[in-house]
């Protein structure tokens, strides 16, 4: 689905990604874990086209996708749920969902979003209760649900999620991971960025550990869970913070 080779990018003159090489197979859930500032967001934004790559290759669905704008990537079936939710705050929940289906409206002039919205409401009934509320007035968890739902509206084959559990209560995090599982069952390929390494590796098939813009460890989730370095650097700390919540 996604193949990345020696990808580099950054901001201004400072390089944030250094020779990233990785891949995501069809139907897989792959996770990227790493501390704050490691370059996870930069990586996802570069794949989606929000940030332009400096060098390297990104092949999405057998097509070179370097230099393709984000508004085109979503047409190819590559969606990103951005960090920090980023819902359209001044618009209603329903309008947010309708905008998620822009791709379909453009592809098919006769498209009507009602059926897809009903499907979302079935999966996430909380959004139905809130459908006429402004998205900015939702709780953090509800906004995250909405951000994921908005990305689902275009039925992408590949969804990237940037720290969907950030700052949310454990119960809501569980709901969000359930949606991710459901997406996989429906055949969607997922690239999940998380700081909550334990949960992420629990759901993922494989994982990459990124540190200061480099991939330092990679492997199957089970291997990473038992890897000493990963345990010390990412799991130990996470366990502490989970208990605190």
């Amino acid at each position: 689905m996604l193949k990345i080779k020696n990808l580099e990018s950054g901001y201004g003159r400072s390089k944030a990604l250094k020779k990233i090489t990785m891949h995501v197979g069809r139907g897989e859930i792959v996770t990227i874990i790493g501390a704050n500032g490691a370059g996870k967001t930069t990586l996802l934004n570069t794949i989606s086209g929000l940030i332009s790559a400096w060098s390297g290759e990104v092949i999405f669905d057998n097509q070179n996708s370097i230099g393709i704008a984000p508004e085109k990537m979503i047409f190819m079936g590559c969606a990103l749920v951005p960090e920090g939710r980023q819902v359209f705050a001044a618009m209603t929940v329903k309008e947010n969902l309708i905008l998620g289906a822009c791709v379909k409206y453009i592809k098919d002039k006769k498209y009507n979003s009602q059926k897809d919205i009903e499907r979302i409401y079935e999966i996430l009934p909380i959004l139905k209760d809130r459908q006429n509320q402004l998205a900015g007035t939702l709780s953090g968890g509800e906004q995250q649900m909405l951000a994921i739902a908005r990305a689902m509206m275009s039925n992408p084959k590949f969804i990237m999620m940037d720290e969907p559990s950030m700052g949310l209560a454990p119960l809501i995090v569980r709901d969000i991971f359930n949606i991710i599982k459901r997406l996989r069952e429906e055949g969607t390929t997922i690239l999940l960025v998380e700081q909550n390494a334990k949960m992420a590796l629990g759901i993922a098939d494989r994982g990459y550990v990124i540190e200061t813009g480099r991939i330092i460890i990679q492997g199957l989730s089970d291997e990473l869970l038992t890897n000493k370095d990963v345990q010390r650097a990412y799991l130990g700390r996470d366990l502490d913070s989970e208990i605190k919540i």
Binding site: S48, L50, A69, P70, E71, I74, F75, A79, L80, P82, Q86, V87, F88, A89, A90, M91, E95, I98, L99, G100, C102, V103, Y105, I106, L134, G136, R150, A151, S154
Partner: protein, 296 residues
């Protein structure tokens, strides 16, 4: 002051207020999608009126106005495509300087085409001398045209932004540009569209007001200052607030003639502008949150 005179002033105030509001909405639309103030907004008003006056020499008034609005819309699109679209993340200052430069260029071009003569469209119905008596108050039929067309414009704009996909896409871009792009919305096209919309409603304002106020190559600027004041007064980016703010400014100005020499009329708007900028930069209806929740 007797009640009749009071209403006379009031009606005049509401009329100018409606025009200010429309010009302010033009500012707001572009501000919402780009974050910049388009200082050439007043020139759209002038271009609309001038073009309609010229076309009206050859074709009937309604057709001339519609064509003039369309031509101004095309000019708005060209300006955006030629001068704004290709800039890679330009600073606000750079954008402001570009729009000020454009306003000067458009004025000079207009001076070349039309000279410095003063023009006016004919009254849409009746003549300047024919007035309607509404409850003892004499008002020009053109005032009813101004109020009617302004109201319809505001209502249509509202419906457009609330209920059409295109309007929603523009609001999405205003609310969160990168999230909008991730939804498949071409943000650059939305900016072009916002210039077209602003140019169009600026031209409408120019056409309906020119029978009353006349139009000259440089008459866009004073109107733009009023519209800008109103946009700030109501809270930048908030179009419904602009309507209220426009009416308030129009009425204040109108009654100021009663208290002060006419020459001081503009003092009101400049005072309001300075006062708001010093005391409450988010506008009378604005609050800190509203500054983040950009709405049309």
């Amino acid at each position: 002051m007797n009640t009749q005179l009071f209403f006379q002033y009031f009606v005049a105030g509401v009329t100018y207020g409606a025009i200010y509001a429309i010009v302010a909405i033009g500012f707001n639309i572009i501000y919402n999608t780009t974050g910049i103030i388009n200082f050439a907004q007043g020139e759209f008003v002038m271009l609309g009126a001038m073009t309609a006056v010229t076309l009206n020499n050859f074709i009937p008034l309604p057709v001339a106005i519609i064509l003039a609005v369309i031509i101004t819309i095309i000019i708005g699109a060209l300006i955006e495509i030629l001068f704004i679209r290709w800039l890679v993340s330009p600073s606000v200052l750079r954008m402001i300087i570009i729009t000020i430069g454009l306003s000067i260029v458009i004025r000079e071009v207009a001076l070349h085409i039309w000279g410095d003569g003063i023009y006016a469209l004919p009254y849409f119905t009746g003549t300047a001398l024919k007035t309607l008596s509404v409850g003892g108050v004499f008002i020009s039929p053109q005032i009813l045209w101004v109020l009617g067309i302004c109201s319809i414009t505001v209502i249509i704009l509202n419906l457009y932004f609330k209920y059409t996909l295109m309007g929603r896409k523009m609001r999405a871009c205003a609310s969160n540009r990168s999230a909008a792009r991730l939804c498949g919305i071409n943000a650059k096209n939305m900016v072009t569209l916002s210039f077209m919309l602003s140019a169009g409603i600026g031209a409408i304002a120019g056409c309906i007001v020119s029978p009353i106020t006349y139009v000259q190559y440089d008459s866009g600027t004073p109107l733009a200052i009023k519209g800008f004041t109103v946009a700030i007064f109501g809270g930048l980016g908030n179009s419904m607030a602009a309507v209220v703010a426009g009416l308030i400014l129009g009425i204040l100005e109108s009654f100021s003639i009663w208290l002060m020499p006419t020459a001081f009329k503009d003092v009101i708007s400049i005072s309001i502008l300075l006062f708001i900028l010093f005391v409450k930069p988010s506008g009378i209806f604005g609050n800190k949150e509203a500054l983040n929740l950009k709405e049309f």
